[in-house]
Symmetry: D2
Subunit: 445 residues, 4 copies
């Protein structure tokens, strides 16, 4: 799934210091007593799970990289009675933000007995004195029903802020643990905060919960919100299909999120079995020419009279004139490939004097603003529980990930700055190819 | 609800001739035997239901207009064993089209025993020899599950066709009854067909089932799809609200359907109690000035930090430069007021140097392509049952409407060409005013 | 719809006294200015809408009964600045309770400026000193999101309480207006409170908002929650159909609410077009014999291999041994007809040595505990707005109803104690007969 | 997750013979060309993924067990042009059955070019000549929309049939590949068919697709339908919570599926964050006594006034009198623990003279009859694609599983007869404990 294989050293997790307090969780250390065990720092999840590769590694005596397993530790670095945590959500909305906030609070409060939890409003802006409103006091009562609603009860904003000011804020507010919920940009910021804290030698833990509806965080198998997103995007695809079928030579186009990677597009297309073409940022495609998209579309309409195209927002950018703008987070703003494709297809069919009825749907805000579905609700809860476990044990500079279905500690130093891509050779994409019937390459050469 | 009050003569329904066949429905003609009664042509629903107005009418001895009540008649004009029906769906998609088709077929087949039913593909185009694909043979087996899916199993198209050719088609295909499912444009076409049939003195019945998601058919209280539409549009409003709350000075804008009337906008806003401004075609509004929308929006953001605006597609057209295009149905193409408002609000707040974060949602295709909800499913079935009853009795040139909650026969001659508007003085709009708190007039003078 | 026709005197609404305060709503009294008009007490909705009947009435010079139209009055009895309202919800849960509570509060607060609003917990119990918890102070902030959740934020309980104690409570808490949200039992209680208040000659208004998921309030066309209920019940029917189709000789049975009337059963069956038999309290049916249900079921299974039966909880009670219990509200507890039918069908087919696979679904709690759907959300809001208008004008002893699609004032003296029944001769039931194909009578004689 | 660790020999997959035909899929064998690669039989997924355990295994030179990876092979055993497949669904309904059927057909037809595919009606019954209806010819057109509906288009039945007769049927119908979609009972049957085929030395492949909504297939990480099931069960929990909150001392009880294992209960409880007690078959619990459930419930009601209990159907069976019945599949019929608990709690609180209002919801048929959600839709498609790949390559006697998120080949000989249990020490259960706050043991000793 990842082309870069890290080495063991890159997977080492930073600790603030020796963990001296006993965990209040009252778990077990023995198997078979029907009580969950504390996780040991030596419990690690193999990076590569393929026996063939493992054999080669053993024979070649090479390093066997593995992620530290997340979970409750028997010894804590922080004294729950005296510690204070803060939670911040950054970047665009994503289904599950409120679930993560809620479970962080519930786990800190009920499982560890921590009583001081601050909610930072409007992203990193709220960590800069004077810029945002005052922090909110987060209690079980405040959060108990927030998971029923989309968005973030803390609200969010984009953009980086001065790291020194943020660390000053943490110090002056006596915050021991900061949970940063956000995507790669956010975790880049969190990593900078972590480095500043290290420089100042402060006992403050920075724990990231990766939030990217696009699922593009490196060394993290899956991020929350993705499942909800492709479920909702599927509704838009169903609409596009109904519209395509409902008119002569109907073409339905749905643009889904995915600036750099096609996970939502691929999954949504699989979930709603009506898609003929899936276009993603990872795979360039031609429009014109005998093997280009237009030729394929002509063939499809001639045979079946309708077609459905799903396109990730970051796909086919070469077909657009470069747009130099960036949004508040420093992300390059993408030209709207959906509108472009709609116009391009209309123009093409006009040119070849063939009737076409193109309907374009952009469900983006409706996708990202819904509450988490059941799958993501569970996932968010477990991410939050593991984030709390890591923080209380004094781990820092890490994000909570999953790998081969296990929750892991991923060093920020490894993950930030890399971006995950959908590998056209991974089984997911093969499923798309098999299900849509589209060729591996929509290219003339 | 209607400003024009028809007179009794305008409400007279045309019949093809004497009804000679006994209805196979085996209903009753007496009350109290627990078996439904046939409806008499003298059963009529009062146009005006207000006692005060009635008293004035009686005193003034004026005409008391009333709609003929729809329902099964004891005598039929057509012999079910020998008759043939055809169904056509025209114009844009609307939730419930398949329900109407299904119930027309089921009622004709099971209740009346009619065995020849044709589905005309792609709207009126399919009634012109050579233009469309061949008609489809509609059977209970063919239609039994179509209501679970959005769109129209017959597909649709826009535009009028040559009336002479259509009547030729009906004659050459020995079609006795034509059900035309569509909006005002469609019923205009149906009325022309009806007139041509009258001119040729043919025993062919033309029965319209009004289909307009906008609910803009004159003298028809409610049209199918509206309820489903505002339910789904409500989801978009919820998203807009979540987005508005999730960012500093967030504004969510949702454009809903409604070329000439604001029923979807008004109902969707009431259904989803988060809307601050509802803008509809019937009521002009100012943007600038002390009582304009921008001023109201500034005030709202200053007080509550977020706002939600619902706008019907036909609202505020004066603010757009006129766009001369028309779509295939001859409708004037509207400029996109949603995109315009999004840009205008951004520009305004930039000008006054106030932060704003505007998110625009256009859920139109997702609204109109879903299956009918339970309310509309029942409504569509009853419209179809009553359309069949009317046709079998030899009525013609009418559309099936509802008035004060009763199904009625509305002469095409009365309805077509008029367009229903939401009356700003009707209780529905008062509910909107009370619920949103917006002023009756967003105008400076 | 109603067999009893009231006379004009029975429709007179009680007023507490002259209305002296100007309404703060700033509505209009003239048509055509695009501002809604105040409603006049002379605006009345005709009881009977059929022109034929009206003609007979006029000729016979008989009384023409009509309901007072609900809506805002220009003069108020209560001074908003000094008045205090209370809200109580009684009986079983019903979708929309929170919507009604919310809109009562919002309308009182924002439209009339009333600031003292109490929520009475746990039904009438909360109006008896010492029995329930203290009343809750209801503010816009408290209620703003409650409509997103099912149930009642005030909770509920069953059973009548001492009327004297309740009126004492109202007096000692200086409550001017009491909104009673509940079914016939609740309104019976409210009527007793109203009578006690009249006896004591107190200026306290009692306004009922009829809440019965069964839709069985007399002289009220439709009650809130019904639409949501039959929509959700439809999901259970869909499941029953899938189960029936999925096994040899499959029979799916769904029990829906409806102690005395079959509105949910009839509507749910129409909404989900897969039902073969609808059994309701209003129509007795035989099980055995050549025209009994078992014979019809045998025939259906022989022909189609599966069948779906929808049964209202109050149907077929004669087949059950009488159960003498009553619930807390004094309602006679019904034996479970669903379980009985399931067993009876299994036994019958065992007896005739024919395979059968019966699946029984009772979705009752899942139906009544969901949030209101969009239709009911709007309906609840309008009921609440009109309840507030009535109360502020000093009307009392009435419930807010609808008649021919208009909101009305219905005297409690007329409505309570009567129970609405589905008339087997009304168009709704004819639709059921036409759609299911079941006979009018499932009876041998 | 599994307490039994298999050895490598137990994981060996049977092949019918050498694979001689080239795959028509046109995949690649090299990395980096953006075309998916064929899977090699040496590609294996490690059974144990923990580095600590692996180190011990390497040092001890013990066997390293691993599952064969599923996926397309470059050489096929069957010639697609001449082969014939059959599909059978057995046991109870489960969300996703139609998705699996659809994708089996689509993959066989479009990706491999196989044209003869039979659908066997009513489970194994349909494989016995004379017992069931004739097989159905499955084509893309037949299956293209079946995934939108719950249940199985082939219908199902319970019970084993004579293996000899079934193999005779396969031979006489020239079936080369049989896909058996069903739970442990079904796969036991499939394994017997496989053994009979081996005895007769026939070139027929038997490929199981594990279907158990309970997720109780051994050596298979997850089965389809589970995600949909706990999502829908969550709705019932939400209702139970609303009901519990809506009455004084309200207790909501929801029974979910899970005869032997608590996966649905655990996941549904996590998905819907309102549950206080989760009772599963794997963990016995006391009712009476200071640490029993009643005492915990009393405490909870005293503190919070309401409680929600989720109980798997197989939990607490010791509290029920043994019921000796078995259903058609030979499963021991379980007494209804939900009804029992409802009665027991009422009795207990009556005994201690404390008010309680218990509402019991059994959503089972509504859970299992819905269409697959998006997650399961994708999962079903991938299971089916991999089942086809395995079959075409001549693999047999296996079921398609997943392990650490990879699709695997699991020998029937290993899996059948074992039943997976939720391990109280696995992270999932810890999440439940952390989220509900219930103790690990609800036991007095």
């Amino acid at each position: 799934m990842e082309n870069i294989i890290p080495n063991s050293d890159q997977l080492i997790i930073t600790r603030l210091g020796p963990a001296c307090f006993n965990s209040p969780l009252k778990l077990s250390t023995i198997d078979g007593d029907n009580i969950a065990n504390y996780v040991d720092d030596d419990d690690k999840v193999l990076f590569d799970i393929n026996l063939k590769n493992l054999r080669e590694a053993i024979v070649g005596k090479s390093d066997i990289p593995a992620f530290e397993l997340a979970g409750p530790r028997d010894k804590l670095f922080f004294d729950p009675a005296k510690s204070k945590a803060a939670i911040v959500t950054c970047g665009g909305l994503c289904p599950g933000l409120n679930n993560v906030i809620r479970s962080l609070v519930m786990t800190l409060h009920y499982n560890y007995g921590l009583r001081n939890i601050l909610g930072i409003p409007y992203g990193y802006r709220g960590l800069v004195p004077g810029l945002g409103p005052e922090p909110i006091n987060l209690t079980p009562d405040f959060v108990k029903q927030i998971h029923e609603r989309g968005g973030s009860v803390l609200a969010s904003s984009r953009g980086q802020r001065d790291v020194g000011q943020i660390v000053d804020f943490l110090v002056s507010n006596r915050i021991d643990i900061l949970f940063t919920i956000g995507g790669d940009g956010t975790q880049k910021g969190a990593f900078a905060i972590f480095q500043e804290i290290q420089k100042r030698n402060l006992p403050i833990s920075i724990i990231g919960v990766p939030k990217t509806i696009d699922n593009d965080i490196a060394f993290v198998e899956k991020t929350f919100g993705l499942e909800t997103a492709f479920s909702v995007a599927g509704e838009a695809i169903r609409s596009a299909h109904v519209e395509a079928v409902g008119a002569p030579h109907g073409v339905g186009i749905v643009k889904v999120m995915g600036r750099h990677c096609g996970y939502i597009a691929a999954n949504a297309a699989l979930a709603m079995n009506e898609v003929n073409f899936v276009l993603i940022p990872e795979i360039a495609f031609d429009l014109e020419g005998p093997k280009g998209l237009f030729a394929l579309l002509e063939k499809r309409l001639a045979e079946k009279d309708h077609a459905v195209i799903v396109i990730a927002e970051g796909a086919g950018q070469n077909h657009l004139e470069a747009v130099a703008e960036t949004d508040g987070s420093g992300n390059k703003k993408l030209g709207d490939i959906g509108l472009f494709m709609t116009a391009a297809i209309k123009t093409h069919f006009l040119k070849i004097k063939t009737e076409v009825s193109v309907k374009y749907i952009d469900p983006s805000y409706m996708v990202r603003s819904v509450p988490a579905n059941s799958h993501d609700a569970i996932f968010c809860m477990q991410l939050a529980q593991n984030a709390v476990h890591a923080a209380m044990a004094g781990k820092t500079g890490l994000i909570i990930g999953t790998w081969h279905n296990h929750f892991t500690h991923v060093p920020m130093s490894l993950s930030v700055g890399n971006v995950k891509r959908l590998d056209p050779e991974e089984p997911l994409w093969l499923s798309v190819i098999e299900a849509t019937g589209q060729p591996f390459m929509i290219k003339n050469a």
